[in-house]
């Protein structure tokens, strides 16, 4: 089955950990996992030595999850292709709509 995850809050919120735990468990059980990050959610993949959350999202990606960001919410927040975790896709609300549509369940972390 396909699981969609929307994350709109910064790493301040436990949402990051919960989304990571659910995503990991879904992958382990053989499901596909797609995440869409927008608003302050994009800060979760702002890479830095001390951002443990960003590292955990990179690991989730390595485990098979696809991560797409809303590019237009990255620009004003200073999240760029250079400063973000490698491999995340800078997409748009079109991607958000497609993920919502093609996944069997859609979990919202806001």
């Amino acid at each position: 089955m396909k699981l969609g995850i929307l994350l709109t809050t910064s790493p301040e919120h436990q949402n990051s950990t919960t989304a990571l735990c659910v995503g990991r468990a879904a992958l382990e059980l053989g499901h596909e996992v797609e995440l869409f990050l927008m608003d302050d959610g994009v800060y979760n993949v702002l890479d830095s030595r001390d951002n443990l959350v960003a590292g955990a999202f990179a690991a989730l990606q390595a485990q098979g999850a696809a991560i797409t960001l809303c590019g237009s919410t990255c620009d004003p927040r200073g999240v760029t292709k250079e400063s973000a975790v490698a491999g995340v896709v800078f997409g748009s609300q079109y991607d958000h709509a497609q993920i919502l549509h093609r996944t069997d369940r859609f979990l919202v972390f806001g």
Binding site: L6, T8, D39, Q93, L100, H101, V108, G110
Partner: protein, 116 residues
């Protein structure tokens, strides 16, 4: 398969970008085969107020998204009890007031509910 999607706008219109972003995402949802309803509830009903001018406080547009949803044949509805609790102010003409019973029916019939 066409999905019925309901976006819940639960936050005030201008304290944060959340109401505007919820509506922007709702417009985005129409780019897939989806029937979209934006439901304004709680303080979120204020996002449907006539005469919002977010630019005065440095916040993003709201009305544009409401109008786009309507134009594309989707719905923007406001929960009547929330609206009354907040003083029953004038609403944008594209926003329909609906009773709580209809709100519950709408949520029950939605394939996906996105609380924002």
């Amino acid at each position: 398969m066409k999905k019925q999607v309901t976006m819940l706008v639960r936050h005030g219109p201008l304290n944060t970008v959340r109401a505007a972003e919820a509506l922007r995402a709702a417009v985005g949802y129409t780019l897939a085969p989806q029937r979209v309803t934006a439901l304004l509830i709680g303080t979120g009903v204020c996002a449907g107020a006539a005469g919002l001018r977010p630019e005065l406080v440095g916040q993003p547009e709201v009305a544009k998204h409401i109008e786009t949803l309507k134009l594309l044949g989707h719905r923007v509805v406001a929960d009547r009890p929330s609206h009354e609790a907040l003083g029953a102010f004038p609403l944008h003409s594209a926003v329909e007031l609906v009773d709580r019973a209809e709100v519950l029916k709408l949520l029950g019939e939605s394939d996906v509910v996105v609380p924002y």
